[in-house]
Each structure stands twice: as structure tokens, then as C-alpha cells.
Symmetry: C2
């Protein structure tokens, strides 16, 4: 067995940044924008508060970075199937980045803007995959269904959706997604 | 023609309360909980701030009253048709009470609780109307779709849903609602 290669300083920096961003998303999701502090994020990431400030400058900038959701482009192929897989990922684990943004967006304009920007790329990739009339509105409704499912399952927790198995949810939503995705 | 009957003092009081509640819902929806003041609600209702305090006691109590959404029980008959009519009402005019609650619920526990309570009655009436297996999860998914449509159309405004005609939205969502409502 060969020894693992020593990590470069740039790699270490990237790892630390990623750990801070991940801690920031969880903290913003749990506490919302107003109540999240640099100190709390640093504690969750296991680093000194000064390091968070050094990398991100301010709470506003840290939020803007955390709110930039990872790209979630629809892969080529059957759009309904790809959308159901994307929905399965959101059902199997709380999407902390979108929860952080959703929880904060009603009090903080940067949060709403972060959500809209990430949403635009995602919407565009759905639109392009839909082989039917009104692709923009169809994509918008698919996105709205995903927003509603995430909000009700993870934030409102007021219905059977809070703890339903992913398979049951996907089976019931399959005809919806297929009809909106213009499946033939 | 007969003269309109003179309003009693109790009727006048009810009118004033209703006007204050309506102004409160619009102000909470627009500004969110934190930034809403008794003074702003009073101005929107065209009354003195002291009168709002006299009727409701505090901002917290005013919010609790405003967040108690009007009952929206599903009428008897074809559940899919009744659900599509309920959706049409939400598409044709911003549901200010639910927007007030949604916008505030992430920062304010009373708001979340108000939403859950109103939601439970609404969910129960959908469940009872569904003639298919898993009525609880079906009702939960229908409610989630409505939440998502309202949030995307009126709060996020990031997609074609923001200004799509109600008829187009209803036509595209009809197969979804019918399949979830267990239409035969």
C-alpha cells in the first residue's frame, strides 16, 4: 500500500472552507438568519471565530456563500425519472442549504435573492427537458411542488408528510410529475 | 324602499374588529412579524392605535387572532373539483392570512402554531373526502402542493407561476389533484 499523498495548503484551505460552509448551512437552517452568529458557526465547524471572519469577512458574506445552493442540473434522459430522483434525494435527507435559505428568506433579502438565483438555473434545466407546451409553467409547477414538499416535511411538520417513507410519497406523486413533465 | 336598520353598538364593534384584523393580516403579510407595529396596523385600518390595543391587548394577541385562518372546510361532493375550486381562490387573490402566517412563521413560534392549527382542520376535511388508500398522505401532499404554489406565486415570485393565469395553472394541475384525490 502506498502512503496517502500529503495534502497541499490549498487543499487544506478548501477542506476548512467546505467545513465552515456546511456548518453555516446547518446553523442558518436551525436558527434562521437573525439568530445565527459567527461564533455559533465556528463552534459547529470546530474552528476559531477569527478563521470564519478571515475566510468570509462577515455574516452577510458567509450567508451569501452558504445560500449559493449546489448546482442541481437535471441530467439528460427521461425528465420525469430525473425529477423523481431529485425529489427522492430531498425526501431522504433534509436539504440543509435550501432549508437555510427558506427559513431566512422571509426576513432577509439576500436569502430570497440566493434562492431565486439558484432556482433560476434549476428551473431552466427543467424547462429545457420538457417535451410539451408551456414548459416554463410546467417547470414552475414542478418546482412549486418540490418547495411545498420540503417546506411541509421539514419546516411545518404539520401533516403525514413529516414522517412518510420516501417510497410512498414518490409513488403517489409519480402521476403528477409525469403529467407535468409531459411524459408521453 | 325601507331605510337600512341602524346598526347596534355590538355590530359596530364587530365591524371595527374585522377591519383591524384585515389590516393586521395585510400588514403582517407585507412586513413580517418583527417589523409590524400596532401603529402601522391602526393606520391601515383607519383607527387610533389605542383602539387596537383596547380590542386586542398586544401585538402578540393581535397576531394570534389574525393568524387564525378562516375555516376552509372542503364542501361535500367531488373532492377533486372542490380542491381545484379552493386552489382557484388562492390563485385569483393572494391569501393574505396564510401569507401573513407563512412570512412570519419562521421567526415566530405563534405563527407556526397558528398555521399548524388551521392546517389540521383543513387536512382533516380533505382526508375524510378521499375515497382511496392512504388518505392522510394524499391529503398531506395536496396541502403541500397548495403551500408550494402559494409560496412560489406570492412570496418567492421566481418563476412563471408569479403571473400565470389561474386557468392555465388549474389545467396543468388537474391531473395531479385528481390522481391524489383518488378520483375514479
Amino acid at each position: 500500500m502506498t502512503e496517502p499523498p500529503r495534502r497541499t495548503r490549498a487543499e487544506q484551505r478548501r477542506d476548512t472552507e467546505a467545513r465552515i460552509l456546511s456548518a453555516a448551512r446547518e446553523t442558518f437552517a436551525e436558527l434562521g438568519y437573525e439568530r445565527t452568529t459567527i461564533r455559533a458557526v465556528a463552534a459547529a465547524a470546530g474552528v476559531r471565530p477569527g478563521l470564519v471572519m478571515h475566510y468570509f469577512g462577515s455574516k452577510e458574506e458567509l450567508f451569501a456563500s452558504a445560500a449559493h445552493l449546489p448546482a442541481d442540473e437535471l441530467p439528460p434522459g427521461d425528465p420525469a425519472q430525473a425529477l423523481l430522483s431529485a425529489l427522492r434525494r430531498r425526501l431522504e435527507g433534509a436539504p440543509v442549504a435550501s432549508l437555510a435559505v427558506l427559513r431566512s428568506m422571509f426576513t432577509h433579502d439576500e436569502a430570497a435573492e440566493g434562492f431565486r438565483e439558484a432556482g433560476r438555473e434549476w428551473l431552466g434545466s427543467i424547462e429545457r427537458a420538457i417535451p410539451a407546451g408551456q414548459p416554463e409553467l410546467r417547470a414552475a409547477l414542478i418546482a412549486a411542488i418540490m418547495t411545498g414538499v420540503v417546506v411541509d416535511r421539514y419546516l411545518l411538520k404539520h401533516s403525514a408528510l413529516a414522517d412518510a417513507p420516501a417510497d410512498d410519497v414518490l409513488e403517489l406523486l409519480r402521476p403528477c410529475i409525469e403529467s407535468l413533465a409531459g411524459a408521453r
